[in-house]
């Protein structure tokens, strides 16, 4: 076995030192009737590197890679170009094979990177403090709801969810709320050019701990969040803003600027890649530093060493499970460190200038696509305003159209039928995302295919 360095001679010498006749003597505490006497029946034996690679390649080839298609999927995961140096850096063994930086003297690389990452996220979100990342956007969203509940000390039990929140995120909140007895007020998304802000505000009351909105929302719409923030604050509730496309924040105002109290999101767009849904990168930030001690997850802070040199450590750990056990702010003990590194490297390569250019290139291509799609007979574009993603209505079940086009290597978008199966009336909706990786030729391909299939 190529990964096991011990030789049989080593094993014998070590058993002798231990004073055990054979290795089974070390498993003496395992009840005899449960001990397995050989390799588990029916499972294959070890395989060479070449054989495993071949097997995995065969499975890989059964999938249609995004880069081999005219690709327009978004809805919480976006295809962006990731510079080659990002993957090179995250594969350095000192980052890849390190543990959580609990020994800060030999983990300054990870710690300084996390401090930089936290600062980048805080700036991007228009917030004061961001944590060192969470599992993904959907779990960060639930953690924000749980944090709002802690801030309300359990006295306010109602959580108002926008109907235009990603349905997977809403489902996660609903699942968790079943066990914490929070009451969830959630409407289905209205197929309108702009989100139903008045309807959302009307559901906020004195028992509301938080309001959760997505920006840009699941249908790609962007709108001013200040009215919702004001309405929430008037009732003593927190505004939680979810962002699933961080590139957008290079073009549109940050949630923090519009009064969001907690901003959470998915960081996958920057540096991480599609990866069939995971691992991704949960981002979590608060606008007001007074809320820092209520935050979940790890935090990296600046300090100094015994010689007075600047250095970084994990801090405020009295919030965390390994110290507080059942009184912790969250049960989470892993963040998404390597994805945070990928995000941070990519963001450093972009810088403010690059992020703004990237955002505007996304928006430009999305505008081109929206205009061309609007000319297809039977297609109407829903959105007034959008960033790089918008919703079109096809007048027929979009799921069937998506499946049909996929046969010709056109991945046309995410159908609302897939996301909202319980709302038949949304089923003609298709969310189309356009990024810098989409070419005008890809857009033409989609337009002509839709013309054909809808005629």
């Amino acid at each position: 076995m190529r990964y096991l360095p011990l030789t049989d001679a080593d094993r014998s010498a070590m058993l002798e030192k231990i004073g055990a006749p054979d290795v089974d003597a070390l498993f003496v505490d395992v009840p005899e009737e449960a001990r397995l006497d050989g390799p588990i029946h029916g499972l294959p034996m070890h395989a060479s590197e070449m054989a495993v690679e071949k097997h995995m390649r065969r499975l890989s080839k059964k999938n249609l890679a995004a880069s081999d298609a005219a690709f327009f999927l978004g809805a919480g995961a976006y295809k962006h170009h990731v510079p080659a140096s990002v993957d090179h850096i995250i594969q350095r063994g000192e980052f890849l094979t390190a543990y959580t930086p609990y020994q800060p003297e030999i983990a300054q690389g990870t710690l300084q990177m996390l401090f930089e990452f936290q600062s980048q996220v805080a700036h991007l979100y228009g917030c004061a403090v961001a944590n060192a990342s969470m599992y993904d956007g959907s779990t960060a969203c639930w953690e924000a709801v749980a944090m709002a509940s802690r801030i309300a000390r359990g006295k306010k039990r109602k959580v108002v969810l926008s109907g235009a929140l990603h349905p997977h995120y809403a489902e996660v909140v609903k699942t968790m709320a079943k066990f914490t007895d929070d009451e969830i007020a959630h409407a289905k998304p209205a197929m309108q050019a702009s989100p139903d802000t008045d309807g959302l505000i009307s559901r906020i009351d004195d028992n509301t701990s938080c309001v959760v909105v997505q920006y840009p929302d699941i249908l790609g719409r962007v709108n001013d969040l200040q009215p919702v923030a004001d309405a929430a604050h008037e009732k003593g509730a927190l505004l939680i803003v979810v962002n699933t496309e961080p590139v957008a924040l290079g073009a549109i105002k940050s949630p923090g600027e519009m009064g969001a109290d907690i901003v959470v999101g998915e960081g996958q767009s920057i540096g991480v890649g599609l990866q069939f849904g995971g691992p991704y990168l949960g981002l979590f930030a608060v606008r007001d530093p007074k809320h820092v001690r209520m935050m979940p997850g790890r935090l990296c802070g600046e300090t100094q060493d015994a010689e007075g040199k600047r250095g970084y450590v994990l801090t405020l750990s009295t919030r965390e499970q390994h110290i507080r056990r059942e009184k912790a702010t969250s049960n989470i003990c892993t963040n998404s460190g390597l994805c945070a590194l990928a995000f941070s490297v990519h963001m450093t390569l972009l810088g403010e200038k690059g992020l703004r250019h990237l955002a505007m290139e996304n928006h430009r291509l999305a505008c081109v696509a929206a205009d061309k799609l609007a000319e297809v007979p039977g297609v109407s574009v829903l959105n007034d305003a959008f960033f790089n993603e918008f919703t079109i209505q096809l007048g027929t079940d979009a799921r069937a159209v998506v499946r049909k086009l996929a046969k010709d290597n056109i991945l046309a978008g995410v159908s609302l039928g897939r996301l909202f199966p319980e709302h038949e009336e949304l089923s003609d909706g298709l969310i189309v995302a356009v990024t810098e990786t989409s070419t005008e030729e890809d857009i033409e391909t989609l337009v002509s295919a839709l013309k054909e299939v809808l005629s």
Binding site: M1, Y3, L6, I18, V23, L26, P31, L43, A47, H55, L64, I89, R92, G93, E94, L96, T97, A98, Y99, Q103, I106, G109, T110, Q112, M113, H123, D136, S138, P167, V172, K178, F179, V222, I252, F276, G278, V292, R298, L299, T303, R324, N331, C333, T334, N335, G337, L338, C339, T348, L349, L350, G351, E352, L355, L358, M360, E361, D371, D384, V402
Partner: protein, 541 residues
Amino acid sequence: MNAPNASGWKPGTPVQDHNAMAGPDTVTGNRALMLEEALIFEIGNTETTGVDLPEPTGGANRLGGLDRSEKIGLPGLSEPETVRHYTRLSRQNYGIDLGFFPLGSCTMKHNPRLNEKVARMPGFADVHPLQPVDTVRGALEVMNELAHWLIDLTGMHGVAMSPKAGAHGELCGILCIRAALEARGDAREVILVPESAHGTNPATAAFAGYKIEDIPANSDGRVDLDALKSRLGPDVAGVMITNPSTLGLFERDLKEISDAVHEAGGFVYCDGANFNAIVGKVRPGDLGVDAMHINLHKTFSTPHGGGGPGSGPVVLSEALAPFGPLPYTARTKDGVVHLIEEEDADAFSEKHFDGRMQSFGRMTAFHGQMGMFTRALSYILSHGADGLRQVAEDAVLNANYLLRSLEDVLDAPFGHSGPCMHEALFSDKGFAEDISTLDLAKGLIDEGYHPMTMYFPLVVHGAMLVEPTETESKAALDQFIMALRSVAERAKAGDETLKTAPHYAPRRRLDETLAARKPILAWEEPNPPAGEPTMSEQGGR
């Protein structure tokens, strides 16, 4: 032959002559290969970028009047500066690639690079989670193939693949228990947790709305069976037990515990963080476990990445399997692997499971940690049924070798309880009064090692939990034994230089109290002296 070094010293042997020459201070603060590096906010600026993108042309704008006009404050660097910045940072980190990382309970084993290569194949890395299922059949097959291995290796009935890490998996298991109890109209309030448990266990159960009660250990360090039995009753939803335990011991009575818990109408959750010690040797399902998470980043060697991402699939017994989260995969008799989401959950359950599947809901967007599934499957296929068994045997052999090679210099509080499993536990008993476990750990850093887990488990004073894993050679263990023996002797003798260790790391001991008292958690632009440009106004470095 005349050797140029007259002393004959070579790496891996003790240094006899300690008269190291102290050098002069350097003006840069650098020390040869040890290079200092400032923050990106100090070396970059908002006008520099390391990517080539078209200048905006000022065309269509449909941003709804929400243009971001204020400065964001994100520094950029060119590609060479970026690569150098992160390369310099990386060299201030310890990693498994660099040396022995005996962090108990964390299972820092070699990460095979084949797995990295596999995870980057375009069919896995470059597919969107919401592509039509006909375009991702291979990805679903990976999930299903891995699921089958996990089920077979644990002797369980089903597996929930979507949990994102160990603690998320714990939560999944506890929610399955709660859903199963609620389905039979049996609300219970209490989860029993042994005092040696991982901190995540009580945190998880509390998060799911349960009251936590501690179960003491016996003198052997194992769960006190009588205390547990006497606490069982109609209010107990279940127990959360770690096996092998955080003391590095196999819970001999687990089957009896399970039987008693089942008898009382509860369920057994097993924390599978230490499954690497027993994989291929015994199946938790045969010991009566109802739910167990598996840290793919521990047992199946997906990289720890400086703190994640992890992956925590949960294997489930027949009683709990119907309650697992959405989505899940299932292979039907025609060989096709299905992805069951909200859209078709009820219909699929009716058609293939007689309506028995009653998922408690969704725990995360999309389908779980695909990038970890590919790596773990590659690891599992490489080892096979025979190799995985050898993994457990070598991990346990290595740990026992360390235990018996060190117990004469370090107190091993449970050394009398029989062989350990994959990790060896020591205490600070016998150290000089003013020397702590922390001091010993920092002394090990100077010897070139990542310290073991310290002060955990909490039940042992000044605990040191050493987990070698199976990927260390005997020579590597022997050198570590030599180093740890030396540092332990110094701790017992009261060597004051341990209290100021580490001396040779990129930083001396860091002030954690200061960090917590005055938290600085994000970079803020300092007020520039009058007339100096701020970062955003500077044209270059």
